[in-house]
């Protein structure tokens, strides 16, 4: 190997990292956008059935979950400020709080889904097959949308968990916190999508 050439160093550019993340978030929005489009089409065709089906969902659990997610968005944003102010232990507590709130969201979701499964309300079940067409479609969309969203919650939690470890080991500091920034952006997206899902699925009855 030649030595008179500079050592190959990886290019690092904070702005690029941010820009890439933003574009990626747009693709995520388009991903959910496809589902929103299908929702809009079926809602306009079967608005009556959609009202009935939405009425069956537990608004209390939905509201509670909205509170969890909104609060967690706040705590993750605060953790960035804490990292910038070099208050590592505060940042650790804030990220941990975010993770706990996210877990509470999933626990709630679990009880909600098992309740529905208990009454045989899931796609393909005999109960659902005999429902009016619009309600059947609503149930399908409900499971697909909340399921895909829950998957995103889990991915966001994994990202935040990595951040937690890296804050602890000083790999995320006030000088380099791009990963935490991007994880927080992703978490805000998860939150944002829920803010649309909640009224569409639970509130319009």
């Amino acid at each position: 190997m030649t030595t008179n050439h500079p050592v190959y160093t990886e290019h690092t550019d904070k702005e690029a990292g941010k820009l890439g993340m933003w574009i990626f978030l747009f693709t995520e929005m388009f991903l959910f956008g496809g589902l929103f489009l299908v929702y809009a089409v079926f809602r306009s065709l079967y608005s009556e059935d959609f009202h009935h089906a939405a009425d069956e969902l537990n608004t209390f659990i939905g509201t509670l979950n909205t509170v969890f997610l909104l609060t967690s968005s706040m705590t993750v944003a605060m953790s960035i400020t804490a990292v910038q102010k070099k208050e590592r232990s505060v940042a650790l507590i804030l990220v941990l709080t975010t993770l706990i709130l996210a877990s509470l969201f999933l626990v709630n979701k679990y009880y909600e889904w098992s309740h529905e499964f208990h009454y045989k309300i899931y796609p393909g079940s005999d109960v659902v097959r005999n429902m009016p067409r619009g309600e059947l479609l609503f149930i399908g969309l409900y499971f697909m949308m909340t399921g895909l969203h829950a998957l995103h919650v889990i991915i966001g939690m994994i990202l935040l968990l990595i951040c937690l470890v890296k804050i602890k080991t000083h790999q995320i500091s006030d000088e380099s916190h791009l990963l935490l920034d991007n994880a927080a952006l992703y978490w805000h997206l998860v939150d944002l999508i829920w803010i649309f899902l909640f009224p569409l699925l639970y509130l319009i009855t």
Binding site: T2, H11, L19, F24, F30, G34, V38, G140
Partner: protein
């Protein structure tokens, strides 16, 4: 220069890892580009062989070498491999990876590790697509378009193929993000947008379509998977869904995907015409902006695939109008290429031959496209082999020939060696003649009513089908000849100089093959590309 270049070439300089690992774990954009190159070529020949098997079946009427179900499986997997594995990523992952950073004066793409991840996602998707042929309840038989309700009810191995397409789409999104950020953040000092080589412009437009359209196909195919696997009704009427909705969602992606395929191809030939005419490109701004125009308008024409699906008259009218509008920026490009050659000192080397063939075939493809874009004639040719021929004229005649042009153009830079020009010219002639014998008869019998995707046909189509099959054999033999010539050149060709074609863009100002870090010092750009000799 070439001698020192070989010494620090990216092909020899291994870095952290050694041997095979130095390739498999590389984050050098050139090595990743080259890995894509080999995978794409390998899958291209698999796809071509499947096509040849179909042509053999169609040589004579009646069942010859396979039954209808095998034929259905073959055209499905031929389509999936050719569309999702080769032409959608194709040019942008090979030449985009290899040359985009060099053309804009950068040392690498913005996210080199993400780039490697894209490659492995791509490889996984490609392998899954092939595996779907041999596992489960037989090869998928839905066609590459996965139309519901058949795709949610067919008992064959459709889920595998769907998952493959979703993974390939994800890889495509990541590559798109990478290229957009690279172009925004990594241009050399003085390299303004309007000083970028036009290939970078076409990659830029392509990347935006990849990012904005691919998520739609991702979610659509996920919905079909959910429909098959979890019985969630979206599109299948038996589960309460609406099949027309699937067609809309599918084409919202899959029409822009056609521009994902063709834009980088246009970018490649735009680099070739000025170099081999030794004349600045005619209408730089028009070519750059027409790429964007194609990307934008191309997003709103999907409905022209559904003229016979029962959509409303008004929407058909709009989609037809917009389809005709796309022809305008495409034609702007064609006129600019021809004007670039006008009055230049033309050097008829293999890359230029392929590029000229590209214009010819692309024009036939484009004009037959207008026949289908018009509402009345569309009804006549819908779902006939006319559509198949049109599509192959655009995709193979356009994108394929541009790929061959690009390979012959950049081969000396990529491998540091030359191929045999005489062999390359002969192979070009064979491929060109074979191609036209192959597809032109299909335009005619399609007009007469030969349906697409049929393993058998009525006796009146037998002359056309026979000529078409013979053309296919001629074309494939030309392709093999081209490949042999390139492989021979790779190992035994003469050493290529840094700038064999007297090119004016940045990649020709560095040694062949390029050193690991591309540029010893990042160049400062003071003017537009494409200046030759006394033009300065």
């Amino acid at each position: 220069m070439p001698e020192t270049g070989v010494h620090s070439s990216y092909l020899n300089n291994e870095g952290k890892y050694h041997g095979l690992l130095a390739w498999l774990l590389t984050i050098d954009h050139k090595r990743i580009g080259l890995m894509y190159f080999f995978v794409v070529i390998a899958f291209f020949f698999i796809g071509a062989m499947l096509g040849l098997l179909m042509r053999t079946e169609l040589l004579r009427p009646g069942e010859d070498i396979m039954g209808p179900q095998t034929y259905n499986g073959l055209f499905t997997i031929h389509g999936i491999i050719m569309i999702f594995v080769i032409v959608i990523p194709g040019l942008s992952v090979i030449f985009g990876n290899f040359f985009l950073p060099i053309l804009i004066g950068a040392r690498d793409v913005a996210f080199p590790r993400l780039n490697l991840l894209s490659f492995y996602l791509y490889l996984t998707g490609a392998i899954l697509a092939v595996v779907s042929q041999f596992t489960g309840n037989g090869p998928p038989d839905t066609g590459w378009s996965f139309y519901v309700p058949y795709s949610s009810e067919s008992s064959t191995n459709v889920i595998f193929a769907l998952v493959a397409a979703v993974i390939l789409g994800f890889s495509s999104i990541l590559t798109g993000i990478n290229f957009i950020v690279t172009i925004h953040r990594m241009r050399a000092p003085g390299m303004t947008f309007m000083r970028m080589p036009l290939f970078s412009w076409s990659i830029y437009s392509t990347a935006w379509i990849q990012v904005l359209a691919t998520p739609i196909i991702g979610i659509t195919l996920l919905m079909v998977i959910a429909e098959r696997w979890l019985n969630i009704g979206f599109f299948d009427p038996a589960l309460g869904g609406d099949p027309i909705l699937f067609q809309h969602l599918f084409w919202i992606y899959s029409h822009p995907a056609v521009y994902i395929m063709i834009l980088p191809a246009m970018g490649v030939v735009t680099e070739i015409f000025p170099t081999f005419s030794q004349k600045p490109v005619f209408g730089y701004t028009a070519i750059a902006l027409s790429s964007l125009a194609i990307a934008i308008i191309g997003y709103f024409v999907w409905g022209h695939h559904m003229f016979t699906s029962g959509t409303s008259y008004l929407s058909r009218l709009f989609f037809s109008l917009l389809t005709f509008l796309v022809a305008v920026p495409s034609a702007i490009k064609v006129f600019n290429w021809v004007s670039t050659m006008y009055g230049g000192s033309i050097d008829l080397k293999p890359p230029l031959l392929y590029a000229i063939a590209f214009i010819f075939l692309f024009m036939i493809g484009g004009l037959t496209g207008l026949i289908q874009g018009a509402l009345a004639t569309n009804i006549q040719v819908h779902d006939t082999s006319f559509v198949v021929a049109h599509f192959h004229y655009i995709i193979f005649g356009g994108m394929g020939f541009a790929a061959f042009a690009g390979i012959h153009y950049w081969f000396p830079k990529m491998f540091g060696r030359m191929y045999n020009f005489r062999m390359a010219n002969i192979a070009w002639g064979i491929i060109f003649i074979g191609f036209n014998l192959f597809y032109f008869p299909q335009l005619i019998i399609g007009m007469q009513g030969m349906p697409r995707r049929y393993f058998d046909y009525l006796p009146q189509f037998s002359t056309g089908q026979f000529i078409s099959s013979i053309g296919a054999y001629i074309m494939v033999s030309g392709l093999i000849m081209m490949l042999i010539n390139l492989i021979y050149g790779r190992y035994h060709g003469t050493i290529a100089p840094a700038n064999p074609w007297k090119g004016g863009t940045l990649e020709w100002q560095i040694p062949s093959p390029p050193p690991v870090e591309n540029f010893e010092t990042i160049p400062h750009i003071t003017r537009r590309p494409y200046f030759y000799g006394d033009n300065e």
